[in-house]
């Protein structure tokens, strides 16, 4: 159980950092500063963060930035990275054209 208001108090206010302009998610162009700031707005899980900022929602589906985002969120939340649940992997494994995907199971007649 996480009491969000208590946790927000515990981690303190957002303090801008020198690396805030660093691009963390290259596909969707999300910066370190945006991720850090969102944590202080109550975005505590990777699932919420993806929905809020779109990190890891682009072509590579977070395969590049997933670990980085976890690390940044963990530091901001003052927990170990292992305590941050990774994003849910979702089908398809690789981006696939609609015309190809449409062929699967469509041969009934």
């Amino acid at each position: 159980m996480v009491d969000i208001q208590e946790k927000l108090k515990e981690i303190g206010p957002f303090v801008p950092g020198a690396e805030d302009d660093l691009l963390i998610c290259r596909c969707e162009e999300v910066t370190k500063g945006e991720i850090r700031k969102a944590v202080h707005e109550g975005i505590f899980t990777v699932e919420e963060m993806r929905r809020y900022l779109r990190n890891g929602m682009g072509l590579c589906q977070g395969q590049t930035c997933g670990r980085l985002v976890k690390g940044i969120m963990a530091r901001e939340l003052k927990v170990r990275p292992a305590e941050i649940e990774p994003a849910t992997a979702r089908a398809p494994m690789r981006p696939i054209e609609m015309r190809i995907l449409a062929e699967d199971g469509g041969d009934r007649e």
Partner: protein, 378 residues
């Protein structure tokens, strides 16, 4: 951790978060939201196609759907301080056959009878609104005041703003039962054993509301239904309308960031038998969706699908939700059974729930959504 509150809201979805926001805005600050998952908006609120739709709605829910479109959605981003990507550019429901058009004509005339601007247009007019569609389309229904928003951000926007106003949220807090004290709903018991107490309890926990309500002797007739969506990689800007079909084989829109988001089904969802916790998509639905989508928007045949996701709908027996105070359990307010179309009405439902807590009249009459409307006909 504070264990008592003026209002306890069970369920951190769009209805729960919106109710929390409007309560806080009206000055009721002792609000506590309990979310079973670790993430706010983990359920259907973030797992839908983002339609903010009035057309095709049941007469019992159309008034508050229209209220939300006319009075809430246009200013929501500004009010909450988060861009919820609301676009009000209209909804086309496409038809390829005469049978489709007959169906759409019925839909449109029903809507007009209820005071909604909706008409059937021919293939040429469809092309004028959206030139990227298939030549096979011979007509469509057109509701110019429908639109879409970003469901992933809208729920979190209500959450963020209500946090700023002092609402308390606890995540990972799975409610297993309610308990009455002196005949009144008061205690909320978690699976971990903690007990919270509230003067008023709002139950907005989707399908799981059924099991929680049962613990105080109330049953809302609902079943669960698994719906899936897919999203493409970014595409050049093509259109900003909402699309659906007369056959209801898919619906969707192009999101602000360029991806197309489509909801679709395989027709076999009724028979899905899997645990409620299992949110994995099936191997058949996205393919069926792609066939339907290409049939109406051939230009997307080469667009790549980057992700699919699914979520549970709480289907109410008669297709509209239960939003009501429970007479036998004073202090309990139900808001569940949204039947797969609860996103677009979220702001209005949140507002009305806050009014019900305050004992005020709701902005529109929702007496048709009473919890005791289910009667045996035999």
């Amino acid at each position: 951790m504070k264990m008592t509150a003026d209002v306890i809201i069970i369920g951190g979805g769009i209805n729960g978060c919106a109710a929390a926001y409007y309560l806080a805005k009206s000055g009721i600050t002792g609000v506590l939201v309990l979310e079973a998952d670790n993430s706010i908006g983990h359920g259907g609120s973030s797992r839908n196609g983002g339609g903010v739709r009035q057309s095709g709605r049941d007469v019992r829910e159309l008034p508050y759907a229209m209220y939300a479109v006319n009075n809430m959605w246009p200013t929501l981003s500004e009010e909450l301080g988060v861009d919820v990507e609301y676009y009000q550019k209209g909804n086309l429901r496409l038809g390829k056959t005469e049978a489709h058009l007959a169906k759409l004509e019925t839909l449109a005339s029903n809507a007009r009878n209820l005071g909604l601007d909706m008409k059937v247009i021919d293939g040429k007019e469809v092309k004028e609104i959206c030139p990227h569609l298939s030549d096979d389309i011979i007509g469509a229904s057109w509701c110019p005041t429908d639109g879409h928003a970003n469901p992933m951000k809208a729920t979190l926007a209500f959450y963020k703003r209500s946090l700023e106003l002092g609402v308390h949220y606890i995540t990972g807090a799975k409610v297993i039962k309610l308990q009455k004290v002196k005949g009144k709903a008061r205690k909320v018991v978690l699976s971990s054993g903690e007990v919270f107490e509230g003067e008023t309890i709002i139950l907005a926990a989707g399908y799981e509301s059924r099991f929680i309500a049962r613990t105080v002797g109330i049953d809302v007739p609902m079943t669960k239904f698994f719906e899936e969506c897919l999203v493409t990689e970014m595409q050049p800007q093509m259109f900003d309308i909402m699309l659906g079909t007369a056959d209801a084989d898919f619906y969707g829109h192009q999101a602000q960031h360029g991806s197309f988001v489509f909801g679709s089904d395989s027709g076999l969802e009724e028979s899905i038998d899997k645990p409620f916790e299992d949110l994995r998509t099936t191997s058949i639905t996205a393919s069926a969706g792609c066939r339907a989508i290409i049939g109406y928007i051939p230009k997307l045949a080469d667009a790549k699908v980057v992700r699919t996701w699914g979520g549970w709908c709480d289907l109410c027996y008669d297709g509209v939700p239960v939003i009501d105070r429970v007479e036998e359990v004073p202090g309990l307010i139900l808001a569940c059974g949204f039947t797969g179309h609860g996103f677009g009405t979220g702001p209005a439902v949140g507002l009305m729930l806050s009014q019900m807590v305050a004992g005020e009249e709701t902005v529109v009459d929702i007496s048709a959504l009473r919890y005791d409307r289910f009667r045996s006909e035999k």
